[in-house]
Amino acid sequence: MASLAETEVREVGAREDVDFDVYSRLAAAERSLAEEIRKSETLARVSEAVASSHDVDACVQVVIDGAREIIGAAFGAFFYNVVDTDGESYALYRLSGASPEAFAAFPNVRKTEVFAPTFNGEGVVRSDDITLDPRYGRNAPRHGMPAGHLPVRSYLAIPVANRQGEILGGLFFGHPEAGRFTARDENLVVGMGAQVAATIDTIKVNADAREELIQRRRAEERLKFALDSGRMGSWDLDVATRAYEASDLCKLNYGRRPEESFGFADLIDTIHPDDRPRILTSIEAAIRDGADYDVEYRVVHPNGDLRWLHARGRAATIADDGGVRRLAGVSLDITGRKRAEERQKLLVNELNHRVKNSLATVQSIAAQTLRSVAAPEFFREAFESRLIALSQTHDLLTRESWEGASLREVIDAEMHAMAGEDRVSFDYENDIRLSPKAAVALGMGVHELATNASKYGALSTPDGRVTVAWTLDRDVLRLTWTEKDGPEVQPPARRGFGVRLLERGLAAELSGAVDLTYDAAGVVCLMALPLRALEPDT
């Protein structure tokens, strides 16, 4: 056993010189292996951290820290390819192995001959001593690193480009001693650069997608606001299945509550039967030809309300064969507008009717004035004066939207036109509302009385006066026109237009009686007119 032990010892001793080399190589290999394992572990850790990054800066920081450790660089940096307004420098960066203050005093990195290959994506720059590189120190004013710059001799710079070839930035490593970076280091860092590029791209795509989602949500909110403020409902029809989706406002337009179901069949049922065939034809045309759908129609709500709707829509999705898959659009309750249009039409018709009736009235005044004047030369004055009397009453009625005028107003207007308003006194308890028709007839009657008075009666002398008095007696207006202090009155030789208008026209139109007497003391006109023929319809 002892000899064996000795032998073993001796043998070991005998091989000592040889073994020393082997052992030291083995130790070196073990160190190297340990170093490789450490690098691999670092690389794996960095790769994992990079892949799970959600933030570009954090991702970049992990990479430059990790790479600096793996390749044994003193300093590491990442410069983003974000070109300043001068187009020459790169302002944003992350650092490793140096405090930001070490760079803070210097201006931004410029696109010098040393940096250009990196930022132009031309390839890797690896130098055992960058200060000996022919590209180094070529740029004024500093011709090399600024004073106080981190001492860099070993230099490794890698462009970081995405799959589209866009240069995102550059990874830069340095060491104060020369010859520190190997081809293997270069390969490692190039691989990490590719990881950084992929991760930055992914982060950007995610951020873009998130931003787009936010924009879409905002657009949708804006659309909903616009639809709601415009009281517009929105709808969507699947052509093949006839599945119909309606917004709350759209349902409201059809008299449905938001929680009620409302399908395509309900929609068609709600359309007024007279409008239904036209609408179905329009829908079919929009589906068949992809034509815009733009229709107005009546709907009958479940509670019986009749409303007008305006619906617009168009093909929202087109199938590969060119057929329409979905129709989408809006609906709006236009009942108010439709009613206003109907009112407008009614008003225009009514206006036309009034104009035509007024023309017939003027025609009548012209014809009868011509009949009653003694000679054609008196026509013009008589006709014009009657035309103006008619116009006075129209002015009054227009002021009150042709709803009527009061008896006192009508008399005042006519007396004013004859400049006789200060010669007339009134005696009555209550004024009376007159319909437009009654106002025109009485206005013309008063005009005839006043004209006669100013020509032959009380208003033809300075002292003559007129009294207008009325009472209401069992729904009959009893009005008297009494002239006094004028010249002695003679009955006229012929009965003119005025008398005829008063005694026949006015009496017949207002279903009453008018009696004109030529008392020597002055003309007296008695009118007995039923209120129902005078007052406006209520």
Binding site: H353, L359, A360, S435, M444
Partner: protein, 122 residues
């Protein structure tokens, strides 16, 4: 064709001045005037019971449509024409086709319409 002379024409018109004009025209044409009526009730009474050959009806009588009077005349077989500021547009659906005089109208227009009415019953 009957002559218009001595034709008894019911006049329904609520505006005094227009009524007077129509009366003058009818008198010039040799017709005899029945009415004029300015109210629906009076017009209906005359349309159903008076001795008349034809009628001229204002479409709108103080805001009330004249059509019940037209119906009464149709039931009796008395020909009638409308006089209206609305023209044809103011005529109700079941009276479309009746003669319409658009106000204002000339005496010759009234004569033509009356001759048309008379020939209907000839």
């Amino acid at each position: 064709m009957k002559t218009l002379s001595a034709l008894k024409v019911l006049v329904v018109e609520d505006e005094a001045l227009v009524s007077m004009l129509v009366e003058d025209m009818l008198t010039d044409l040799g017709c005899t005037i029945v009415g004029p009526a300015a109210e629906i009730e009076e017009a209906l009474r005359l349309a159903t019971s008076a001795d008349i050959d034809a009628a001229l009806l204002d479409v709108n009588l103080g805001g009330r449509p004249i059509f019940p009077v037209a119906d009464a005349l149709r039931a009796r077989g008395v020909p009638y024409a409308f006089a209206s500021g609305y023209g044809e547009a103011g005529i109700s659906e079941d009276h479309k086709g009746a003669s319409v005089l658009q106000k204002p109208f000339r005496e010759a227009d009234l004569r033509r319409v009356l001759e048309g009415l008379v020939s209907q019953t000839a």
